[in-house]
């Protein structure tokens, strides 16, 4: 037996291996550090992530490479999403640092858990096997459950973690059940194999569609699409803001990746079935997300509902890939979805970054009123938030506009004009609550006149984030083309 053993090609999984090793090293090193030396942990975490980025960048060659008996894939889609992932985790870590230090939450576990969550997301992004997806998902989810509860004295955070855990476990169960159906129908869990079986028509479609329902539900839960959104507002509000920042950004990239891997790469032949399901999810998410956000007074909760509506928009693109038997819409649709998700992550990082900026020791800037009169306290950061809010509302010249534009283009191209009209009407309603934030910042007098305290690196990065929201709106082509190119080479 051992004679036939061929060691897998480890090369495509280098970033993951490197990060796991680094996480272990950091775990060990941190055990010997005192509170005042915690910056070493933080610095090592940065080094690990930057190292990962370098490895991924250096090995990016546009080839589709499978390894570990076809369980793991390294393609351009994975590389790009991973680069974006590192970036968003790095940004999240820098934004969070002051907040965590002020609350003595910058424990070693925090950094290690963030790194393991990152590994989980990387595995999800590179999965080419249903079990690999599940593995990555669980690694991510378990790390996140623990992170939400990291402030163990906060009852709200504990409650949020419980809720997240119970509902998350349920969703994982659903996903796993769906996968078992797929296995039953096709006899394989390899994504390429499933696609092959479907293509040859040897699989039992009834069983597959039955399984598909569970798979879509699982994905919808991870994205936070209605009606699987219940956890989103509670977790966003309950978790410490840095953790909310983390949950609201990078995992959406990973969730997008598994949606692509399972639905598009694996179950493409069933597109007409899952597209209908996605349409229901999209319409409900856009409607409920935008309506419920209006009623919120807590900005984290408001952004949670806003996220729900953004995910609805992204699904709008994902459901527009195939019309009847015609598949030439696919590239347009999926690249729009990817562009949307990347744009969303950039905006989301900035929005939660602003909340962290306004929070300080002993004070949580969680309420919308905390943004009152920001223009008088700091015109520059008010402008950054203005850009982010208008971008989320889909007003040009900001990146959010072109994200919405490309999604609408894909949807209308696929003939979903009514859905597109519905979506823009609800984004009109959505514009109201983004405008309200701008109103609070610009039209109202400040209630809190404390000067904004933040470290220089955070100020710089947040400014850069705001500038990115504007510049990617003025010169949107690079990012759109990059997304298109990645999918063209990987589809």
């Amino acid at each position: 037996m051992l004679k036939n053993f061929v060691p897998p090609d480890l090369f495509p999984a280098m970033p993951e291996i490197f990060l796991v090793l680094m996480a272990c090293v950091i775990l060990l090193v941190d055990a010997f550090l005192g509170r005042t030396q915690r910056w070493i942990t933080a610095a090592l975490t940065m080094v690990a992530l930057v190292g990962c980025a370098l490895i991924t960048y250096q090995t990016m060659d546009g080839q589709v490479v499978l390894t570990f008996s076809n369980m793991f894939v390294d393609d351009l889609l994975a590389d790009l999403l991973k680069l974006m992932l590192y970036l968003s985790v790095i940004v999240a870590l820098i934004y969070s640092r002051d907040y965590l230090v002020a609350r003595q939450l910058d424990k070693g576990e925090y950094y290690v858990l963030v790194l393991f969550a990152t590994v989980g997301m990387m595995v999800m992004i590179s999965a080419s096997h249903f079990l690999t997806i599940y593995l990555g998902l669980e690694l991510l989810s378990l790390s996140l459950y623990a992170l939400v509860a990291i402030d163990r004295d906060s009852p709200r955070a504990t409650e949020a973690a419980m809720k997240y855990f119970v509902l998350g476990a349920l969703a994982s169960g659903l996903l796993l059940y769906g996968m078992s159906m797929v296995y039953g129908a096709t006899g394989t869990l390899e994504i390429g194999g499933v696609a092959q079986a479907l293509h040859l028509g040897v699989a039992n479609k009834t069983v597959l569609v039955f399984g598909l329902v569970f798979i879509v539900s699982g994905i919808a839960f991870k994205l936070g699409a209605v009606p699987f959104h219940m956890w989103v507002p509670d977790v966003y509000q309950g978790a410490p803001t840095p953790i909310t920042l983390l949950i609201a950004s990078a995992p959406k990239l990973a969730a997008f990746a598994i949606a692509m891997r399972m639905l598009v790469y694996g179950l493409f032949e069933l597109a007409e079935h899952w597209q209908t399901m996605l349409m229901i999810l999209a319409v409900l998410s856009i409607a409920l997300g935008n309506l419920a956000a209006i009623a919120q007074t807590n900005i984290k909760r408001m952004l949670a509902y806003s996220t729900i509506s953004h995910m609805g928009f992204m699904l709008l693109a994902l459901m527009s890939g195939v019309v009847g038997e015609d598949k030439h819409f696919a590239l347009n649709a999926y690249s729009s979805a990817m562009y949307y998700i990347v744009a969303y992550v950039i905006m989301s990082l900035g929005a939660f970054g602003m909340i962290l900026l306004l929070s300080r020791a002993g004070y949580e800037a969680e309420h919308l009123d905390d943004f009152k009169g920001l223009n008088q306290r700091s015109p520059w950061f008010a402008a950054v938030m203005l850009a982010i809010m208008f971008s989320m509302a889909g007003v040009p010249f900001f990146v959010g506009f072109f994200a919405k534009f490309s999604v609408l283009l894909a949807a209308i191209d696929a003939g979903h004009i009514a859905v597109a009209v519905f979506a823009v009407m609800f984004s009109l309603i959505g514009a109201f609550y983004y405008l309200r934030v701008v109103k609070l910042m610009y039209f109202d007098a400040p209630v809190d006149n404390a000067p904004i305290q933040a470290s220089l690196d955070m100020r710089f990065l947040l400014s850069l984030n705001g500038a990115a929201v504007a510049l990617l709106g003025i010169f949107p082509d690079t990012l759109i083309s990059l997304c298109t190119f990645a999918l063209m080479r990987s589809l």
């Binding site: 007003v395 506009f401 534009f405 209308i412 823009v424 405008l435 082509d477 759109i480």
Partner: protein, 489 residues
């Protein structure tokens, strides 16, 4: 030479960033803003002087790829229809900045910067020949206006700012769907000039027309989607009202000429009776509404709606007199409404009231000002020898040619317009000094004299000798009407 349009757009916008950096230094902010505005105006002058009046097509064209992924181009150009608006806009920006000189004391740099950004964006709207570029400028211009109304506005500024933003966004979002649909129909192009040649069936043409109608009717505004305008005008600071009335309202009307008529000519003809009816309602009904207003700004706001009704009427009677008259009316209204709002602003700065009832006998204490105010009021009422007369007369002539009764109804504006404007002037300017506040008024200073005199000059010059204005329009308007007359079915 061919980057003139880009300069007209980006000098004010980039200049605004410089003005913002002035921060709390009010003096620096004012002078920097004035310098930027004047530079912005100077670069637009060659557009007029080097304009080839014999050519109907686009001039000063700039075309380069912007978003190749969707075949979106940075495509600029002007013809006889759009060129004058760029000049008007850049000119009004200077006036607005001078008018705000001492009046605005709060966040001066942001105020000036917002107006400069808006000026650049509006130039972008008037010169875009790519639909997405147009849309981007069109929607982005809402942001500075929202901020202007919200920060420097009156007591219910927040309500007015939201109403303004959401109302106009509603219109433009439907237009976005229409633009994307046209992109797919045309085989992947956002080029407006190509869209003008696109053949479309009547049913989709009507839907397209309606989608554009929502966007542009809100902006014009046409009855019954005009209700945001009085609120926005009353609450906006003087400069905001000036830009709204003088330029922003023109965007809607301009949209009809650039999108609705040439892209959906059959639908335009088909729906012309509806458009004419809506226009006449605006002219007559809103004229009556204006008559009963107690607030001067509101009165002028309604008067603007009524005058814009004339513009849309002129477009949909499809003859050169009508369309050119409407264009002249748009320019003239740009000067007159700006002047009227500035006059109200001058009085408001002294009395902090816009109620007609609080005034009376202003001529006794502010004779120079009264002279200007009466002149502009006469122009607003369409007195011959002022710019207000030329446009209205041309549209009425065109309307009579089209159908006598439509012309007849349109002509009632001469009576209504005179009634509400002159009645207001009578109550505000003439008569005995009404109260001690009026008695203490001081006449306009040299700064106020300057911007009122500049506008008075424009109003009179255009009224006495409109040829330089109409001359540049002829070729483009004729071409447009010829184009609209040919069915695209």
């Amino acid at each position: 030479m061919s980057s003139l349009l880009s300069l007209a757009i980006w000098i004010p916008i980039l200049g605004a960033l410089v003005v913002f950096s002035a921060g709390n230094d009010k003096k620096l902010a004012r002078w920097a803003a004035l310098a930027v505005a004047i530079a912005g105006f100077l670069v637009t002058l060659p557009l007029y002087f080097n304009f080839d009046v014999t050519q109907a097509g686009m001039q000063f064209v700039e075309q380069r790829p912007w978003i190749p992924r969707f075949n979106i181009e940075y495509f600029l150009g002007v013809d006889g229809i759009s060129m004058l608006f760029i000049l008007l806009n850049s000119f009004i920006t200077i006036i607005v900045i001078i008018a705000a000189w001492e009046v605005i004391q709060d966040k001066v740099a942001q105020y000036m910067g917002a107006f400069l950004i808006m000026s650049g964006l509006m130039n972008g709207i008037f010169s875009s020949l790519d639909a997405v570029l147009f849309y981007v400028f069109f929607e982005a211009s809402l942001i500075p206006m929202y901020i202007i109304i919200g920060i420097w506005g009156g007591p219910s500024r927040v309500y007015a700012a939201f109403k303004f933003f959401l109302y106009t966004l509603l219109g433009s979002l439907l237009m976005l769907i229409a633009l994307i649909w046209l992109f797919l129909q045309s085989g992947g192009s956002f080029n407006l000039l190509e869209w003008h040649q696109l053949r479309i069936d009547l049913a989709p043409q009507i839907l397209l027309f309606l989608a554009f109608l929502v966007a542009f009717a809100v902006k014009v505004p046409m009855w019954p989607v005009h209700t945001w305008l009085p609120d926005a005008h009353v609450e906006a600071p003087t400069g905001g009202s000036v830009v709204l009335a003088a330029i922003m309202l023109k965007l809607g009307a301009y949209g009809f000429l650039r999108f609705s008529l040439p892209i959906a000519p059959d639908a335009s003809q088909y729906l012309a009776p509806m458009m004419i009816t809506l226009s006449l309602i605006a002219v007559i009904y809103i004229g009556f509404v204006a008559l009963v207003q107690a607030d001067m700004k509101k009165l002028i706001a309604y008067s603007s709606i009524s005058h814009m009704g004339f513009v849309t009427l002129g477009f949909f009677i499809f003859n050169p007199l009508g369309v050119e008259g409407a264009l002249v009316q748009m320019i003239s209204h740009g000067f007159i409404s700006a002047a009227m709002f500035l006059c109200v602003g001058v009085m408001y700065d002294r009395m902090h009231s816009r109620q007609i009832a609080d005034y009376g006998g202003v001529v006794n204490t502010m004779p120079k000002f009264a002279g200007f105010m009466v002149l502009f009021a006469m122009a607003n009422a369409g007195l011959p020898a002022t710019s207000g007369f030329v446009g209205e007369f041309m549209v009425i002539l065109g309307a009579v040619k089209y159908n006598f009764w439509i012309g007849f109804l349109a002509a009632t504006t001469l009576i209504l317009g005179a009634a509400y404007t002159l009645w207001m002037v009578k109550r505000v300017i003439f008569g005995a000094v009404a109260n001690s506040h009026v008695a203490e008024l001081t006449d306009i200073n040299s700064r106020e004299f300057l911007f009122l005199a500049l506008l008075a000059f424009c109003v009179l010059a255009m009224g006495l000798y409109p040829y330089p204005f109409t001359d540049v329009m002829h070729a483009s308007v004729d071409n447009l009407l010829k184009h609209v007359a040919v069915s695209k079915l």
